[in-house]
């Protein structure tokens, strides 16, 4: 590990250092605010469990569970991500410049996940409050059992979108191959257009119009929805 004097960034080269050493550094107090990770080589569990507002740049493709459980940090992957990127994220921002494999943002509770390429199957599965913006398309069973939070898809969605959905909001700009059980198209109100515009801006997506999206949500027939409890979903 070395500190780049010009930028005061911590530089970690995974060709010579282990992921375990890297993650320990990212958990330590007093680590430089800015961290650059070289030669990720598709390794698993890179930058997992961060609990401080770091700026982490990863120069290349990562394996499974990158930036899992992220809290406060901004993690940017300059490449593709394997299964479960930003799974169970609590807060902060995770950006994938390339495409993401299955289960991107699974069970994430807060924060923002942006995928500039495509995400694969089960994107946002069991989503619990995070916002996910996918510049490309998502695969089948995306937002399966998603409880709350938002999935924005600028491209197309695969089969069984939003199957067994709870109160998450889904916005899709392109085609939807099929809606899952209890998922229906809903009216796009001003409140939704506003939310969508804010999310697109946060994600840095400026070449699509919020008006081009359609909104999907739960028909509320499959679970014991009670209007008095709407605030707690």
């Amino acid at each position: 590990m070395a500190t780049d004097v010009a930028t005061e960034a911590l530089v970690v080269d995974l060709a010579t250092e282990s992921v375990r050493e890297l993650n320990q550094r990212l958990h330590d107090q007093g680590v430089p605010h800015s961290v650059r990770i070289l030669n990720p080589g598709g390794k698993h569990a890179i930058a997992v469990g961060i609990d401080q507002p770091l700026e982490v740049e990863i120069a290349g493709h990562v394996g499974y569970y990158c930036a899992g459980m992220n809290k406060h940090a901004t993690v940017r992957v300059h490449g593709n991500a394997g299964v479960g990127v930003a799974e169970n994220m609590m807060s902060g921002t995770v950006v994938v410049e390339g495409s993401a494999s299955q289960s991107a943002g699974a069970t994430a509770r807060g924060g923002l996940l942006v995928v500039h390429g495509d995400a694969s199957a089960r994107c946002g599965i069991s989503l619990k409050g995070a916002d996910i913006v996918v510049r490309g398309s998502v695969g089948h069973l995306s937002a399966f059992m998603a409880q709350t939070g938002t999935l924005v898809v600028c491209g197309d969605a695969g089969e069984a979108l939003g199957d067994s959905l709870y109160e998450a909001r889904l916005y899709v700009r392109g085609s939807v191959a099929g809606l899952g059980a209890d998922c229906v198209e809903k009216e796009m109100g001003d409140e939704h257009l506003q939310q969508l515009r804010e999310l697109l801006e946060l994600a840095g997506v400026d070449d699509v119009q919020a008006e081009d999206f359609r909104r999907y949500g739960s028909a509320r027939q499959l679970y014991n929805f009670h209007i008095d409890n709407v605030g707690s979903y």
Partner: protein, 303 residues
């Protein structure tokens, strides 16, 4: 969990390093399958009219030279045995079907690992590192190769239960996943005359492909048939004499990633196995869609 690797070289300059690159891929997949490892190489074609068989015996003192003499009496010219650990490679001046039939009749104790003109399958129990060392995989050349690291779920850990499975002449199959209708399907295929050596689920998928192609289906058609006739989870890679094909089940429970540049086409269970290839960082990389057959051959690249 299991690991799959496939590497097809477009660049002739890389062909002498095929074994080196496949070894690197297999080692990256060690964690996914520490029980057994195997590889299929397409290399060193047998002369026209001849065929190549790779045989395995669990008897370390097996009389391979005696077998060579007998093969010579039956078929004329025989080149071999070229030994690689427990496996013996023979080139015989006869049709591969005839040689296989002769071996089944006369030497039922032997297992034919592969038969054809260019394919060579090597596999055994243990980590990929052990396979690479014992079989000299690093030094093998060739045009393309498939590899597998196994974490057994459905059946025992033996050399015979390891992948790749031969699915006919110059064809082989590696599999990550598990099939749930393999018992019934095995019964049906046995009635069609397909032979099975183990109770392994993947061997049934291999037998299914053999049967479909015997009945006139193309490789692509046979693979599409898997979508209807196989129940369970799978990512398959199939090696052919001039390329390879990939299929994932429609639910896509098992991972797969593919990459391509001017020098090679690769597929693997995880990107880290591709990351060891020259120029991987800048190769076009994507995840194959579920339920869709991808295939590459020397003549064309069809996706």
């Amino acid at each position: 969990m299991c690991g799959i690797a496939g590497l097809y070289l477009k660049s002739e300059a890389l062909q002498s390093q095929l074994g080196h690159h496949l070894s690197g891929m297999l080692e990256q997949l060690s964690d996914r399958g520490p029980d057994s490892a195997g590889a299929a190489f397409y290399r060193d074609p047998a002369p026209a009219g001849s065929s190549k068989v790779v045989l395995y015996s669990d008897d370390p003192g097996y009389d391979w030279r005696g077998l060579a003499a007998e093969l010579g009496l039956a078929f004329g010219e025989v080149d071999g045995p070229a030994m690689r650990a427990t496996h013996a490679v023979f080139v015989v001046d006869a049709d591969a079907f005839e040689v296989e039939e002769w071996l089944n009749q006369r030497r039922p104790e032997l297992r034919v690992m592969s038969a054809g003109t260019t394919i060579e399958i090597f596999k055994q129990e243990g980590l990929p590192k052990l396979l690479i060392e014992r079989f000299g995989i690093e030094r093998l050349d060739g045009t393309h190769a498939l590899g597998h690291t196994r974490m057994a779920t459905e059946s025992r850990v033996t050399t015979q239960h390891s992948h790749p499975f031969s699915t006919g002449l110059d064809l082989c199959l590696v599999h990550n996943g598990s099939l749930s209708n393999h018992n019934r399907l095995r019964q049906k295929l046995r009635r069609e005359g397909i032979r099975f050596m183990t109770d392994n689920d993947t061997e049934v998928a291999a037998g299914y492909l053999t049967w479909r192609m015997r009945e006139g289906a193309s490789l692509e058609q046979a693979l599409e048939g898997c979508l209807d006739d196989l129940d369970g989870f799978y990512t398959f890679a199939v090696g052919t004499v001039d390329g390879f094909a990939v299929l994932r089940d429609p639910i896509a429970c098992k991972p797969a990633v593919m990459a391509e540049n001017d020098d090679w086409v690769a597929m693997a269970s995880e990107y880290r196995a591709i990351s060891v290839l020259p120029g991987a960082e800048d190769a076009e990389t994507w995840e194959p869609e579920p339920g869709r057959v991808y295939s590459w051959t020397t003549a064309r690249a069809v996706a």
